[in-house]
């Protein structure tokens, strides 16, 4: 489905530059939910931009369904970290945006948009403007908008980063439900261990600068999962194991930032 092969990204001149992503390779199988987790500054978002086709890598190759990624790929849908609803469009017109770009007639695209609005639990809010919704609801609008384009690979870059803890958990639950309904192949970038464990089949741990892959962890929690999964002992064990890995990287990051 997605194949990332020896991707490296350097910024600045060869003599005096920063290697943000260093020789990263991994694959994602159809239907799989994979998270990439790492401390701030590990190059997660750079990797995300490369996979999304928004930024070319210095070297290495990304391919989706066997085709090399050179610019945004039609099979890939992207949800950004920042607030990204169009503030002048109602919920339904935000969600229908990709369909509108494709030239779909208004009635048809609204019908399809309604389906995805319902999927993210925003039924009844179709005519509202983003400014009338909470942050969590706005992020759900963005997720619905990306899903409306029917991507075969969904990319999410810390979509819950700007939200409070309760909203994050509930939204995570929503994403689980959506994942289970659509069997959506997903790559999630996050810095939250619980989020990664709760949602993923596999978790990739990245190192702090240069961003390399440190470990691939398979999460063996049964599906379907709900928000309650966070209370199970297996969940605790997986989180502890990931935290051990991540603590090392995060403290290296802090030491470097402090010194």
């Amino acid at each position: 489905m997605l194949s990332v092969a020896n991707v490296t990204m350097r910024f600045g001149t060869p003599a005096d530059g920063v290697t943000a992503v260093d020789d990263v390779s991994f694959d994602i199988r159809p239907g799989e939910f994979v998270s990439i987790i790492g401390p701030s500054g590990c190059g997660k978002s750079t990797l995300f931009n490369i996979v999304a086709g928004l930024q070319p890598a210095t070297s290495g190759q990304v391919s989706v369904e066997g085709a090399a990624v050179r610019g945004p790929h039609p099979a890939v849908g992207t949800v950004f970290q920042e607030e990204s609803c169009f503030p002048w469009r109602s919920v339904i017109d935000n969600v229908a945006f990709p369909l509108e770009l494709a030239g779909m007639p208004r009635g048809e695209r609204h019908d399809q948009a309604r389906h995805f609005i319902e999927l993210v639990g925003l039924r009844g809010f179709e005519r509202r403007l983003p400014s009338e919704l909470s942050g969590g609801m706005r992020q759900r609008v963005c997720i619905a908008r990306t899903l409306a384009a029917k991507p075969r690979l969904l990319l999410m870059d810390e979509p819950f980063a700007a939200l409070d803890e309760q909203t994050r958990l509930l939204l995570g639950d929503k994403v689980l439900q959506i994942q289970q309904t659509l069997r959506q192949t997903t790559l999630l970038i996050t810095h939250s261990i619980t989020e990664a464990v709760q949602l993923s089949d596999r978790v990739l741990v990245m190192t702090y600068r240069p961003g390399r892959l440190k470990r691939f962890v398979t999460i063996d929690l049964p599906r379907p999962r709900t928000a309650e999964v966070v209370t199970s002992p297996e969940f605790g064990a997986a989180v502890a194991s990931l935290w051990a890995d991540l603590r090392e990287e995060a403290s290296r990051g802090m030491a470097e930032a402090g010194g």
Binding site: L54, F86, P87, L129, A149
Partner: protein, 243 residues
């Protein structure tokens, strides 16, 4: 309050006899002059001509200005290469171009339209370029990730995201276009409101001249208020968070 003071001061000045009586006519004569203007069909014929010239000027200059501003705002290369020229040329008085425009467009309405369009063009280029740079970059990344074509990005992201500053730009552009058109009419013309003002002045018909000026000022103020209103409403509709 300010209006009462202004009118009172004017009337006092008119009655004091300190100034030439015809230069500052009393309010009664002024009102009669205004009425004569409004009741005069030739005024409306002139107003129609000037209005048409103004509309064409704002449409032509405005569209070219917005298009140029979009290009400058969206492209670092173009902006680095050309924007300073617009910044430098922007404040120069465009009336110095009038002889050239007459050569190109003749002495008829076309040269007035050109004059207004040139005036309106520059402020719109600069305000559009600034507005485009203010567009939230994540919205452009969204459009890119959905593989929007360049024209779709312009129509569905840049324009709606910049309506409010654009309307303010149009307001500025409208003001200078009006100046351009009227100035051109006063210089060389045989029709239009600017010509009518000069005619009244030449005949020393001060009440009529003031009447014409009042109508022009009132019209400009009304358009300004309407555009300002529209811009404020657009800000409400496009702002991200509830206030």
């Amino acid at each position: 309050m300010a209006a009462i003071l202004l009118l009172g001061g004017w009337q006092a000045m008119a009655l004091s006899g300190l100034l030439f009586r015809d230069v500052v006519p009393p309010l009664g004569a002024l009102a009669a002059g205004l009425w004569n203007v409004i009741a005069d069909p030739t005024f409306w014929a002139n107003a129609l001509i000037t209005g048409g010239e103004l509309l064409a000027a704002v449409l032509i200059g405005g569209m070219l200005g917005v298009a140029t501003g979009l290009a400058l705002g969206a492209s670092h290369v173009l902006s680095a290469a050309f924007e300073r020229w617009f910044t430098w040329l922007g404040p120069t008085p465009k009336i110095i171009l009038f002889p050239v425009l007459i050569l190109f467009c003749g002495v008829g309405p076309a040269s007035k339209v050109a004059m207004g369009a040139v005036s309106c063009f520059f402020p719109l280029v600069l305000s559009t370029a600034a507005a485009v740079r203010g567009v939230d970059p994540v919205l452009l990344r969204v459009a890119r990730s959905f593989r929007a074509r360049p024209w779709q990005t312009v129509l569905k992201v840049y324009l709606p995201a910049t309506v409010a500053p654009l309307l303010n730009g149009v307001r500025l552009g409208f003001g200078v276009a009006l100046i351009g058109v009227l100035l051109a009419e006063t210089k060389l013309s045989n029709q239009g409101v600017g010509f009518a003002v000069m005619q009244a002045y030449a005949r020393f018909d001060m009440p009529r001249m003031y009447g014409l000026l009042i109508v022009v000022v009132g019209f400009a103020a009304a358009v300004n208020v309407a555009l300002g209103h529209a811009a404020r409403r657009a800000v409400g509709a496009t702002s991200k968070k509830e206030t």
